[in-house]
Each structure stands twice: as structure tokens, then as C-alpha cells.
């Protein structure tokens, strides 16, 4: 490799993941930590620890200047940003580039291009990737009705100037349009100073399906199949699986081809994920966004392909050509990941930091734990609540589910509250087993059922 020492600019389980991949490749490692993470397992694993600042993220993990200063000061010539934090901030990639540090990820320009929603949609359109069908501005009820009929009900009236659910109204018929148009426009006017509306197809029964890609930066792109991340709460993924067997094969092939086309069109470099919405009612898929980083759920793809994606990231960053071709990538079996969070599902998912007094993860064939936690570790209150990931692999989806249920039952974590019991209820639920869920299923069906069973 043309670098020898990697700076890990992240914390928790992904820091450990990256450190392990670096060590396996014989690379030296430095980790930048906040004061709260001085004694973390990542700090022990790295060859050197540098303490960036006090605990709050804004004074440590979210400060690109501190991070690059630390990387330079500790003699690093590569930097891995993990996920979250600054991983998709072009500024960090730029600073690395200016300081002769290889950024393990896409170029700053790519991050900018795909990070902007409008620019990403334009790229998708140019690459013939389907978007959620919608209109330009509609100024009258009649125009809205006409558009809605073209797009097929249900549709949603949306504000061109904003988001976040303001100035939005779902319409299932011409009557709904007539009823809601003026109110939606008024709400948009009040919220964003602009009452202009447009109409978009409303995807009621959706799956979140994403394609893992790797690019060499010179136009060569590989895909590693699909992932289904439909089990979500408040737009946060809770359970992920690979491959997306609930989606028809021809749609999956089209999604993969679309993802590759999009990535090729921008000479995408390093790892990325192209996210789609699969409209189960209309059997169609639409582009949502590109995540220009390694993702939390990358292990399920690793389990079904046998490829170490983080190692591939490091090799690409070192300027090596792709060591795989598309026909060398085979999908085998089924993998499921449950995110383990330090939280109390029964108290509206309030975080549960504190000292872990017992940490006894499950072991066995096809069971993998990605975590930085151990007995005696104190989960700090400053960061998000995810403390690890439990991943299982089986030859079939049914076997993977059964393995996951056993693994969750065996997983003992004392001293803090976690969501393992809820996860077990989820993967044991009839709908999940039958693979008949959508992106609102967890909130609409699963949580009320769980609350009932728990007698809360």
C-alpha cells in the first residue's frame, strides 16, 4: 500500500471495525478520541491514541480541523472517517487532500455532488435512474387534479420551498385535492414564505432497498447485491437484511443496474450505497439518495458475499485497482442484522447509558457481533445509543431468522437497558417471518403489538 498509517476519525463499533481491517492489512493505526472515549476498546486496539477534545461531539468528532491536525501530528498518511460524524462532509475530504492524507472514501467533489438532494436527483435523471414521479409547480386545483390522475392516486401535495411535512397533504381522490389544496398552500406560505405546491406520487406501501457499490474512481463499478432495510422507526433503521428477497428478481436486477449506471456516470470512488424506494403496490422503484460512505449495515453484505468491504475501501484509497470482477461476486445464503441500542423501548426509547456489568454475547456458527462493548465498559451519554450490531447468516432466510432468535435469546447485557427483547419480538413476528412488511410496519403494527404484549 502506498500509505502505512491510518487515522481512524470515529468511535464506537465502527472504529473497532476499521481498526481491525487496518491491522489485518498490516497497517499502523492511530485513533482520535474525545475525552470520554480515552479508555474505549478502540483506544486500546489502536497503536496510538490522541485525545482531540472534551466529550461533546462538536468539540471532538465533528471538528474537521482538529481531526486533520491530529492525523498530521501523529504521522498518518490515510484517514478513515467511518459513518456519521464527518464521513459525508466534503470539508474533511478537502482538508485531507490538502494535507497529503489519503481520504478513505469518495472525492470531495463526489461527496458534494451526491450530498445535495437536487444535484443527486439530476445525476439520477441523467443516468436514466427512475425518480418518484412528480410535477413542476401546480398553481390551481384543476392542474393538481390533472397531475394527480396522470401520476396515479394516492398522491401528495408538497411545498416546493420546504419539507419536514409542512405544507404537505396526502390526496387519494379528486375530492381530496379540492379539499386540501388551499390549506396546504397556506401552510407552505406561512412556513416557508412561498405557497407554491407540486404533486408527487405517494408511495404508501414501500420497502427501503439499497445497493452496495464499490468504485475505483476511474469508472469501474462493482455492485454487491441488495439490502432490505424496511424495518425502521422514525426513519432510523432497526433491522437490515440481505439479499432483498421480498422484491421481485427483475426489479432487483434493474435496481442494481441503475445503481451501477449512476455510479459510473460520476466515476464514483470507494464504497457507497444507492438507496431506492420499492413501491409494493405499483411494482416500481424510485431513487432516493446516494450515501457516500460505508454504512452501518455493511456486514450483511459481507456475510452473503464473503468480501471484506472495509479492506476493499483501504485498498482503493491506496490507489490499487479493484481486485474483484463482477462475476467473482456471488450472493450466498441470507444475512440479518439487528442493531443493539442502549435504550428503553418501554419509555419511548429513552437512552440508557451507564456501566455494563455483564456482556455475554452469543457465539456459534453464522453469528457475528460488531461492537466495542465489554464488561465494565461505561456507555457514555454523549453519543448515539447504538452499542453494537448482531449479525447472523444462514443458508436460507428462515434459517437466518431462527439463528437470530437464538442469538438474541442468548445475548446477555446487564447494567443498562437494551432493545434486544424488542428485536427478538420483531424477528419472531409473523409479518417479519412471512416477509410482508413495509417502511411503516414497525411503527404501525409491531410497536403497538409489543406494547400490548409487554402490558405497558
Amino acid at each position: 500500500m502506498n500509505f502505512s498509517r491510518v487515522f481512524v476519525a470515529n468511535r464506537g463499533e465502527i472504529a473497532v471495525r476499521v481498526l481491525r481491517a487496518c491491522r489485518a492489512l498490516g497497517l499502523e493505526t492511530v485513533i482520535g478520541v474525545s475525552d470520554a472515549d480515552r479508555h474505549s476498546s478502540g483506544a486500546r486496539l489502536a497503536d496510538r491514541v490522541v485525545v482531540l477534545g472534551p466529550a461533546p461531539s462538536k468539540d471532538s468528532y465533528l471538528n474537521p480541523n482538529l481531526i486533520v491536525a491530529a492525523a498530521m501530528g501523529s504521522g498518518c498518511n490515510a484517514l478513515h472517517p467511518g459513518y456519521g460524524f464527518l464521513s459525508e462532509r466534503a470539508e474533511l475530504a478537502d482538508l485531507c487532500s490538502e494535507s497529503d492524507i489519503a481520504f478513505v472514501g469518495p472525492t470531495a467533489d463526489t461527496i458534494r455532488q451526491v450530498g445535495d438532494k437536487i444535484s443527486a436527483r439530476e445525476l439520477a435523471q441523467a443516468a436514466n435512474v427512475p425518480l418518484v414521479p412528480g410535477t413542476g409547480e401546480v398553481t390551481t386545483v384543476e392542474a393538481a387534479k390533472s397531475a394527480a390522475n396522470d401520476l396515479e392516486y394516492p398522491v401528495v401535495l408538497k411545498a416546493t420551498a420546504g419539507g419536514g411535512g409542512r405544507g404537505m397533504a396526502v390526496a387519494r381522490s379528486d375530492e381530496d385535492i379540492a379539499k386540501n389544496f388551499d390549506a396546504a398552500s397556506l401552510e407552505a406560505e406561512e412556513a416557508f414564505g412561498d405557497g407554491t405546491l407540486y404533486v408527487e406520487r405517494f408511495v404508501e406501501n414501500a420497502r427501503h432497498v439499497e445497493i452496495q457499490i464499490l468504485g475505483d474512481g476511474n469508472g469501474a463499478i462493482l455492485h454487491f447485491g441488495d439490502r432490505d432495510c424496511s424495518a425502521q422507526r422514525r426513519y432510523q433503521k432497526v433491522v437490515e437484511e440481505a439479499p432483498a428477497t421480498a422484491v421481485p428478481n427483475d426489479i432487483r436486477e434493474d435496481m442494481r443496474a441503475a445503481a451501477v449506471r449512476l455510479a459510473e456516470s460520476i466515476n464514483y470512488r470507494n464504497a457507497g450505497t444507492v438507496e431506492f424506494l420499492y413501491d409494493q403496490n405499483r411494482n416500481a422503484f424510485y431513487f432516493i439518495e446516494v450515501n457516500a460512505r460505508i454504512q452501518v449495515e455493511h456486514p450483511v453484505t459481507e456475510e452473503i458475499t464473503g468480501v471484506d468491504l472495509v479492506a476493499q475501501q483501504l485498498k482503493i484509497a491506496a490507489g490499487e485497482p479493484l481486485s474483484l470482477t463482477q462475476d467473482m461476486i456471488n450472493l450466498s445464503g441470507h444475512a440479518i442484522e439487528c442493531r443493539i441500542n442502549a435504550e428503553m423501548p418501554g419509555r419511548d426509547f429513552a437512552p440508557s447509558p451507564g456501566q455494563i456489568t455483564a456482556w455475554l454475547p452469543p457465539v456459534g456458527d453464522g453469528i457475528r457481533i460488531d461492537s466495542h462493548c465489554e464488561q465494565g465498559y461505561t456507555v457514555p451519554p454523549y453519543y448515539d445509543s447504538m452499542i453494537g450490531k448482531l449479525i447472523v447468516h444462514g443458508t436460507t432466510r428462515a434459517q437466518a431468522i431462527s439463528r437470530m432468535r437464538g442469538a438474541l435469546a442468548d445475548f446477555r447485557i446487564d447494567g443498562i437497558h437494551t432493545n434486544t427483547h424488542l428485536q427478538a419480538f420483531l424477528v419472531g413476528h409473523q409479518d417479519f417471518k412471512n416477509n410482508k412488511i413495509d417502511t411503516r410496519w414497525l411503527e404501525r403494527t409491531l410497536l403497538p403489538a409489543y406494547t400490548k404484549v409487554m402490558g405497558v
Binding site: L52, V68, N77
Partner: protein, 160 residues
Amino acid sequence: MDQTQKDIRALVRLFEQSDWDDLRVETSDLKLVISKNSNAPGLTVTENVPRARAPLSSSPDSVEVAEPVAKEKVTEIPDGAVAVTAPNLGTFWRAPKPGAAAYIEVGQKVDADTTVCLIEVMKLFTPISAGVSGTIIDVVAENSAMVEFGDMLVLIDPNT
């Protein structure tokens, strides 16, 4: 003095203060052998690789100079003394700019808002105040060295 030489000095100091007879440190870039044994050679240092930072476009065999150990840190302070510590990681500067007089010297009296040093992060310079009035006892951090959050920079006797 570069980082490797500073590290060697720190190692030698530690070794001298210890009750060990021999010390041998080997890394991929450096081999250091010291002995208090009068029969052995006193000190040998061998560096195995070229010093210069290799540009990324060069051959895969060139290796970056390693700093084998992080700098030895001072953590104990004399009774009653107050330490001014780094509020974040950065480069420690004793003077407003190279060639200028240092902000403070040992023995100097300071007020709470006297600037004692700068911490630089990527060309952004933050002045650090004494925090207490008193007399400078020691300047612990090394000029132009990287310091981390919480590292001691300057020691002050607040009772004078």
C-alpha cells in the same frame, strides 16, 4: 530536534531513572540499545528507513517515518501548583510568531488573563490564558509540538 530524536531522549531519560540495566527497543524503523552495564556498548541507535515523508504517488515500498512512541507526558505537578492545560488538541506555540519573544518565561508574574501560549489547529490560533494570577514555575509543553486535550502546558504557582 525532530520527533524521533525527542522520543529517544525521552526513552533515555526514563531508562536512566529506572532500575533496569538494559533497554532494547525495536520497531520497523528504529533499533535502540542502551545498557548501564559497563561492559556493553553505551548506546546504539539504528534507523532502518529513510527519513523523508514519502509522497503518496511513490512506490508502495517507501514507508513513512514512524514515531514509535507517543511523547512522554508530564502528569505530576508540585503541591499547590496550578496547571494550564490544553482545551483541545493542537500545536503548542510559546510566542505570537516565530522569532518573536515568548509570551511568558519561567519566573514571570502573570494575571489570570495573561496570554501564556497559543494552541494552533490548522492555522487557526487560539490564545490560552493563565487562568490564575501567580508566577510561572515551568513550561511543560514543547514549542511546536502537538499537544492533546488535557495535556499540561504551563505550571503556575498561584500563591506568589
